[in-house]
């Protein structure tokens, strides 16, 4: 039975397996639904966003219990002598969580988690040591979870690629008992990324039943890649599906999104991009036709939408230009952490803040609406709040 025929009441009983199977049936039958009618800015390119939206939301689905609410905690002592003070950062983390939820840390924990959850902490290791997610922020998160009964081996620090995690400070020595994983690896120069059957070495890490579809756009002949094999090494698959990692669809029961604070061109590479381009593979083909739209639609997919319970953007250091990789010239001490259950409101707050910073620093800012359209699109999908008039920013100075 194709999911498009499922009544709302029946659909409410679908489990994850049924979701992915019915989605697959729709696609296999050539009935790609495209995007729903959502207003004048409805994109024309066909993806399987409609399939995502048909799956009833889970109890923890975006935008979570605090749509449009963003907490910014600032402490000028967080960064001293070019080193982060772990105690100050931990105190900022607690201030942030409590200010977001309006209750203590134990009740806040229960609002989002159970002790049996397997919790993924999505970090951004790109740009270490200047502009990646800081281990001190991750340590504060781990401590909160463990103090409330989560076993360390049920916590997974993860990113899409394995190559940057160690250099960004995410090592077993620093996080004993905690799992540190990546969705994929890349073969070094001169070595094959294929196994004996011809599949990518990391192919088994992705869920063949759960994918983001961009119809007619394949990972072949993608501009910017030497050839299709080069692309394959980096992106694991060459088809028109971007599969979700098994980690996200099968193992994790909750996700905490720990993004870094930086620009990408005139947009930002923070909360929604940290997951939008890291929860799936085969993303190189998506940049040109979709770019920011991926940050909305991948977060609309049930495995992300229903598990992402908390977003913390690490703005202890920030970068206002030439991101997303590090450029020391544009890195500054911002001494702030940002908290939200609603990643789209969070990104809108940070986008506007970064635009103001760019102007203050004399950077020529392009304020075309296309750089925030994806956030408004998320609002129309009911995933979050993007209208600044409807966003509440709570500023806490320690």
């Amino acid at each position: 039975m194709a999911k498009r025929d499922v009544s709302p009441d029946l659909a409410a009983t679908l489990n994850r397996r049924e979701f992915v199977v019915t989605t697959g049936a729709v696609v296999a039958g050539g009935l790609v639904l495209g995007v729903p009618s959502l207003g004048q800015e409805t994109p024309a390119i066909e993806t399987n966003i409609a399939d995502f939206l048909k799956v009833p939301k889970g109890p923890h689905a975006l935008p979570g219990p605090f749509p449009g609410r963003v907490v910014k905690v600032t402490d000028a002592h967080a960064l001293a002598d070019d080193k982060f003070d772990a105690k100050v950062v931990a105190a900022m983390f607690e201030h942030g969580v409590r200010s977001l939820t309006g209750t203590n840390m134990r009740k806040s924990f229960r609002m989002f988690f159970t002790t049996n959850d397997v919790i993924g902490l999505k970090v951004n290791p790109v740009g270490a040591p200047l502009i990646s997610t800081k281990p001190e922020v991750v340590e504060a998160t781990v401590r909160w979870l463990v103090d409330n009964g989560v076993r360390p081996h049920n916590i997974v620090i993860w990113d899409r690629f394995d190559l940057d995690l160690k250099s960004a400070g995410f090592t077993p020595e620093r996080f004993p008992g905690v799992r540190i994983e990546a969705l994929q690896t890349m073969a070094d120069e001169g070595k094959s990324c294929r196994d004996a059957t011809g599949k990518h070495l990391s192919a088994g890490n992705f869920d063949p039943d759960a994918f983001y579809l961009l119809k007619g756009v394949f990972g072949k002949g993608v501009r910017g890649y030497q050839d299709d094999e080069y692309y394959f090494n980096q992106h694991v698959f060459n088809g028109e599906q971007s599969y979700f990692g098994n980690l996200i669809t099968k193992r994790l029961t909750k996700i905490v999104n720990l993004a870094a604070y930086k620009n990408t061109g005139n947009g930002i590479s923070m909360a929604t991009k940290n997951l939008g381009y890291a929860a799936i593979c085969n993303t190189g083909r998506l940049h040109a036709p979709l770019f920011f739209r991926v940050c909305t639609e991948v977060l609309a997919a049930p495995p992300v939408r229903d598990k992402l319970v908390l977003n913390v953007t690490d703005g202890l250091r920030a970068q206002y230009d030439d991101g997303p990789d590090k450029n020391e010239k544009f890195v500054y001490a911002n001494n702030a952490l940002y908290f939200a259950t609603d990643p789209f409101a969070l990104d809108m707050v940070c986008h506007r803040e970064l635009v103001a910073k760019r102007k203050a620093m004399g950077v020529n800012v392009n304020e075309h609406p296309k750089f925030t359209d994806y956030l408004h699109y998320a609002q129309r999908l009911g995933l979050g709040v993007a209208d600044p008039a409807r966003i509440t920013l709570v500023e806490v100075k320690a």
Binding site: G224, G265, N327, N366, E367
Partner: protein, 308 residues
Amino acid sequence: MSWTKVPGMAAPSRGCSCHRRATIFCAFAILAALAATGALAADDTDLLPTSGFAGVWQRDGAAKLFRGAELYGAIDGGAEIFLEFGFERVTIQRYLARSQEISLALYRMSDPAAALGIYLAKCGKETPEPSFYERHTAGRYQLACVRERFFAVVENPAGVPALAPVLVAFARALAAKLPASTPVAELALLPKQGQIAGSQRLIRGPVAFAELITLGEGDVLELRGAVTAAAASYGDPGAHTLVLVPYLDAPAAAAAFAFLSRHLDPEIKPLAETATKIVFKDYAGGFGDVTLAGSVITVRFHLAEPPR
């Protein structure tokens, strides 16, 4: 006698023997010059400091080389602007001394304007080290410099303060092996009066242009990676940003102007339009204009008032 065509050199006509000898001499001279800059080599390893540099720095394995579109393997976000300006290859070498590390990335671009275009996009407010005379900006973690068609970044990944002078030493050694810089003519077109220091930019396509403004989708100025535009911001009174686009000839400029007028972004509201001028209000409430004059298109924006 058969002739091998050297890039950038016309095949000589058959003539007297002294003419042929002169031509052969020129060919050898050009080949020698190309060899000296590594243009004929498979990579630019020979231009990098060798093991034993400054007595302690050892190359850590072989250099990594990324050519053309392989750049996506070397840069995590931000490769497009290199390709747009004209990227040929980057040679990346790591150096170790005891437990410390320095990394050097040497980008060979297509020409000096391409290298300077990248440098201007990345240098921010320049903070040069006075003892190093090449154009550069130096910090504790990174030093970026440009010379002729080469753009280089020397990194101190751990930010060890004592290594900041080592970044300069590496850059100085590298620069000594590169050909001398030549002025980029397009920048000289920009008026100097009122120009805000550090605001100069070069543009060869939609990625660099979108850093400033969106007038339309894609390569709306028809730069095609071949035409180099120059931009700068100007202060009060009449603060604005100026882009000058010198096309090959007047018909090319006219064609680009016509293309732009047909493909203006929906968020750009034309207030007045003639065959050679468009006055507009942009999506952020600022004003601007596009003017065609001979072989040059001039774009002004971020004006507080509509231009007359």
